[in-house]
Amino acid sequence: MGFGPLLLLAILEGAVTAAVLALTAVGLSLTFGIMRVVNVAHGEFFMLGAVLAWFVSQWFPDAPLLAFLLAMVVCPLVVAGVAVLADVLILKRLHYEPEATIVATIGLLYIFQQAALSFFGPNARPVAPPFNFRVQLPWFGYSGYKLFVILAAGVLLLLVWLLITRTKIGLVMRATQIDRTTAKAFGINVDRVYAMTFGIGAGLAAIAAVLVVPIQQAHYLMGGDPLLLSFIVVILGGLGSLRGTLIAALLIGLLDGLLSTAFFFPPTFAKIVATLLVALVLVFRPEGLFGRRTA
C-alpha cells in the first residue's frame, strides 16, 4: 500500500475516534465549564450507555436497526436520569465543592462499575451494527458504519451547538457559566440548571457510546480511556469553547496515527511522542487552543 492510501486510512480512523471523542468531551465540557466540577464518573456514563445499548439490542435480536434507533433515544435518557439523580442526591448536597465532588464521583464510578459487573457481566459483548456495508476503496475495504458514525456525531454536535447558542436553555446555561450569583439574581433556578447540565453531559457521553458500541463492544471497564481523553480534549480545546473541543478531539484522534504513519514510529512510541506534544502545547498555551486568557 502506498503512502497516500496509508495516510487516508490513518485519517479515516482518526476521524472516527475524534467524532466519538468530541461528543463525549462536549458532555464533559458542559459539566466542567458550567458547574466547575471534576466529574470522574463521566467515563462511567459512557460505559453505562454502551451497556444499556447491549440490553436494548437483546430485546430485538433480529432487528438491529430498530434496536439501534431505540437505543439512541432510550440510553441517553436513562443515563441522563441517573446523572440527574446523582446530582440532586449527592453533588448538590456537597455544594459542588470541587474536592468533595472528586471523592463523590470516584464513589459513583465504583458503584456504576459494580452495577455493570453484576447485571451485565465481565465479558466484552458485541452489539450488531444497524446496517452492514463495506465500502471497497481501490486499496482497502472500510466499514460503512464507521463513516456513518462520523456523520452522526457531526449532526449531534451541530444540535448541541444550536441548543447552546440558539435556545433559551442554552442562554440560561451560558449565563450560569459566566456568573452564578448574577444568574441567581435574575431569577434563574441555578439548582435546576446544574441538574440539567449534569444530565445533558452524561446523556451526551451515553449517546457517543451507543454510536461506538457496534464497533467496540460493551465492557464494564471501558470508561477509563474516554474519561482521560475527554479531560485532555476539553482543556486542550479551551474551557467553554465548543469549536476548541472539536479541534482538540481531531488533534488527539489523528496525532499519533499520523506520527506513526508519516515517520514510521513504532505505534507505542508514537503515542508517547503525541502525549508529550499535547502536554507541551498546554504548557505554552495554558488556556488551551481556543480558551480566553484569564490571568
Binding site: 471534576v38 470522574v40 472528586i102 463523590a104 482543556i235
Partner: protein, 316 residues
C-alpha cells in the same frame, strides 16, 4: 510539653510502635504497607493539600522512585542503599523537571499537563519492556532487598523500617507546614495573587513544594521496591495518581496525619468489603459517597473544624 501538635503526632507514632507488638501477622504486614503508601500520600498532600496544586500525575514520581531503585538492583547489581538513593534522586529530579514546565499552568490545565506527563511515563515503561517487563513487572530477588544489613523482606524488620520512614516523613511535614515556608505554601493555595503582592514568587514556591512532594513520592516508591520486591507498570498507571488524591481527601487535605488516616481507611474499606459481599466495588463506592457527605473535608478536616481553635493547635 506545650507543643500540642507535636504531642498529638508523637502520640500517633507511639500507637504505631505499640501496634508493632500487638497486631496479628496479617494486619502487621498490612499496616507496614499502609505506612509506606502514606508517605506517598503525604507527598501528594504537600503539593495538593497545602499548596493547592491539583496534580493527576504523581504516579510518575512514585514510579520514578520504584523503578529508580528496582532497575539498578536488578540490572546493574547495585546494593540496597545506593538503589534507594537512586530512586530518591530520580523522583526528585523528575518532579523538578515536570514542575519547571507544568507550573507555567495552573488549576485544571496543571491537572491535565501532569496527567499527560504521567501517561507518557507509563507508556515508556511499557515501551521499554525489554528491561522493565512492562505490565508484568519484575521481581526484586529476596537477597537484594537489604539495606545496611537489614533484611527488608522480613516482616518485623520491614514494619520497623516502614515506620521509620513514615516518622521521618511525618515529622518533617509537621515541621514544614508550621515553618514560614509552610505558611507561604498555604498562601499560594488560598490566594496566589495576594502572596505575589506580598513579595513571594509563586513559581519558585510551588516548584519547591512540588519537588519536595516528588521526593516523598520517590521515597515511597523506592521503599516499595525494596520492601515488597515488585515493580510493575500497574503501579505507574493513572490509578496510582488518583489513589493518593483519594487518600488525602478522605483523611483530610491540608492535615499532617490525614494522608495516613485516609490510606488506612481505604485499605480496610476494600479489605472488609470483600468479607461482607462479593459486590465489593459497590460497598467501596457507597462508603466513599457516604463519607464525603458526612465529612466533605475529610475525616481529620471534619474533626479539626469541630474542635475549633483547639483543633488547629492539635491538628495542623
Amino acid at each position: 510539653m506545650r507543643d500540642r501538635a507535636l504531642l498529638s503526632h508523637l502520640g500517633l507514632v507511639a500507637v504505631l510502635m505499640a501496634a508493632h507488638w500487638m497486631l496479628p501477622a496479617y494486619h502487621h504486614d498490612a499496616v507496614a504497607k499502609v505506612l509506606v503508601l502514606s508517605v506517598y500520600a503525604m507527598g501528594y498532600n504537600i503539593a495538593f493539600g497545602y499548596t493547592g496544586m491539583l496534580s493527576l500525575g504523581h504516579a510518575l514520581f512514585f514510579a520514578a522512585g520504584l523503578y529508580g531503585a528496582a532497575m539498578p538492583l536488578t540490572l546493574w547489581g547495585w546494593t540496597g542503599g545506593p538503589a534507594l538513593a537512586a530512586g530518591l534522586v530520580a523522583a526528585t529530579v523528575l518532579a523538578a523537571a515536570v514542575g519547571l514546565l507544568a507550573l507555567r499552568t495552573r488549576g485544571v490545565s496543571f491537572m491535565i499537563v501532569t496527567l499527560m506527563f504521567a501517561q507518557a511515563g507509563y507508556l515508556t515503561i511499557l515501551y521499554l519492556g525489554r528491561w522493565t517487563r512492562g505490565d508484568e513487572g519484575i521481581v526484586i530477588a529476596q537477597p537484594l532487598r537489604r539495606i545496611m544489613g537489614l533484611d527488608l523482606s522480613d516482616g518485623a524488620t520491614r514494619y520497623l523500617a516502614a515506620l521509620l520512614l513514615f516518622v521521618l516523613g511525618l515529622l518533617a511535614c509537621l515541621h514544614l507546614v508550621r515553618s514560614p515556608f509552610g505558611r507561604v505554601m498555604v498562601a499560594m493555595r488560598e490566594n496566589e495573587e495576594r502572596a505575589r503582592m506580598l513579595g513571594y514568587n509563586p513559581f519558585t514556591v510551588k516548584l519547591a513544594a512540588l519537588t519536595l512532594s516528588g521526593l516523598y513520592s520517590g521515597a515511597a516508591g523506592a521503599a516499595y521496591a525494596l520492601m515488597f520486591g515488585y515493580a510493575g507498570a500497574s503501579l505507574a498507571g493513572v490509578q496510582y495518581s488518583i489513589l493518593p488524591m483519594l487518600w488525602v481527601l478522605l483523611g483530610g487535605a491540608g492535615t499532617v496525619a490525614g494522608p495516613f488516616l485516609g490510606c488506612l481507611l481505604m485499605f480496610y474499606l476494600i479489605d472488609y468489603a470483600s468479607v461482607i459481599t462479593s459486590a465489593t466495588l459497590l460497598v467501596v463506592g457507597v462508603a466513599l459517597v457516604a463519607l464525603v457527605l458526612f465529612a466533605p473535608k475529610g475525616a481529620l478536616g471534619a474533626l479539626r473544624d469541630r474542635l475549633g481553635k483547639e483543633g488547629r493547635a492539635w491538628l495542623p
